[in-house]
């Protein structure tokens, strides 16, 4: 394992996979990311992140049973693993802790 280090884009992909829940595949994730963040990632970047996250064990891919794409091929879907959920949570906790550690005076603009 390479530790629980998570890139920014990888974290976004993980979160998007969570949002889409049972319909998370490459293009859907790209569209959702576009909607959420306003930037449009390359489809290859999305797939690369998915492969990397699966290698790290944060995502798990499975072939959709029954329903297929218009071209008659089974769809490969992704879902968060327990480890993936924990990693996203850790990331949020880290951010929250660091947010809380910032003194109030910073926000009130006291420093000028």
């Amino acid at each position: 394992m390479k530790g629980t280090y998570l890139g920014e884009f990888e974290e976004l992909v993980l979160l998007t996979t969570g949002i889409l829940y049972d319909d998370a595949y490459g293009l859907a994730i790209k569209d959702e990311l576009e909607k959420q963040t306003g930037r449009s990632p390359m489809i290859s970047s999305v797939h690369k992140a998915l492969v990397r996250l699966e290698d790290k064990g944060y995502l798990k891919s499975y072939m959709q049973s029954g329903a297929t794409l218009s071209r008659g091929r089974p769809k490969r879907l992704y879902k968060l693993t327990a480890l993936g959920k924990r990693v996203v949570n850790q990331s949020r906790e880290l951010r929250n802790n660091m947010w809380n550690a910032i003194p109030k005076v910073v926000w009130s603009g006291g420093e000028g």
Partner: protein, 213 residues
């Protein structure tokens, strides 16, 4: 719907390099994106877009895994290497002595070989090189010992008349003064590292500059 499909050759190219597990899923995504493009784009432009998007998949994560033959000897070699390293870590002193001893021995052999090869490289060009001997002197005084090959001129006569086994004596003298001007006919030029030689005809002679010979 069929006219909305990207050119076959690009799709074949993609199928050629892409990994089996990813190929169908990625291509479905690509074709969906392509047909979206086609709604407000000329076929030509969309094809170019498709081609470059396919090119962005030329990355290690999407490429076919190269089949490596797991030959038994290779696996065995790695296993032996691992066992060797573990053994050395476990028996550190023993291994250090072992490796250092081997290094010292090997370097001694290499240095001795270099010396012997150099010594045997002299007079190879001569058919009777075995019989050519270099005369040196060793001068021991109470304070120091000097060694060299600078010998007096009359030694040639003394060697030839007193020692029957000496057939010929060659002597030469290194000009250590200023660079001399040499003249032959109407050619004149300077020459570094000049030797005066008194050589019997039977000995071909090749002095090397600065060899101290």
């Amino acid at each position: 719907m069929n006219d909305r499909l990207p050119p076959l050759w690009i799709r074949r190219f993609f199928a050629w390099f892409c990994r089996e597990e990813l190929r169908d899923t990625v291509e479905d995504d690509l074709i969906t994106l392509y047909s979206r493009k086609r709604r407000n784009m000329a076929a030509f432009k969309a094809n170019i877009w498709y081609f470059f998007t396919v090119l962005t998949f030329l990355q290690p994560f999407a490429l076919k895994r190269i089949q490596t033959n797991h030959l038994n000897p290779i696996d065995m070699f790695y296993n032996n290497l691992k066992i060797g390293i573990r053994f050395m870590q476990k028996h550190l002193i023993y291994s250090t002595i072992n490796v250092l001893g081997l290094a010292v021995g090997l370097s001694a052999v290499i240095l001795i070989s270099l010396f012997i090869i150099d010594e045997l490289s002299y007079d190879r060009f001569h058919t009777k090189g075995e019989n050519i001997v270099r005369v040196t002197y060793k001068l021991e005084t109470p304070n120091s010992t000097r060694q060299g090959a600078k010998l007096p001129f009359p030694l040639k006569g003394a060697l030839e008349s007193n020692y029957p086994e000496v057939i010929n004596v060659a002597r030469f003298y290194h000009w250590s003064g200023d660079t001399p001007l040499l003249a032959y006919g109407d050619q004149k030029h300077t020459e570094d590292g000049m030797y005066f030689g008194g050589l019997p005809h039977s000995i071909a002679f090749r002095p090397e500059p600065n060899s101290g010979l």
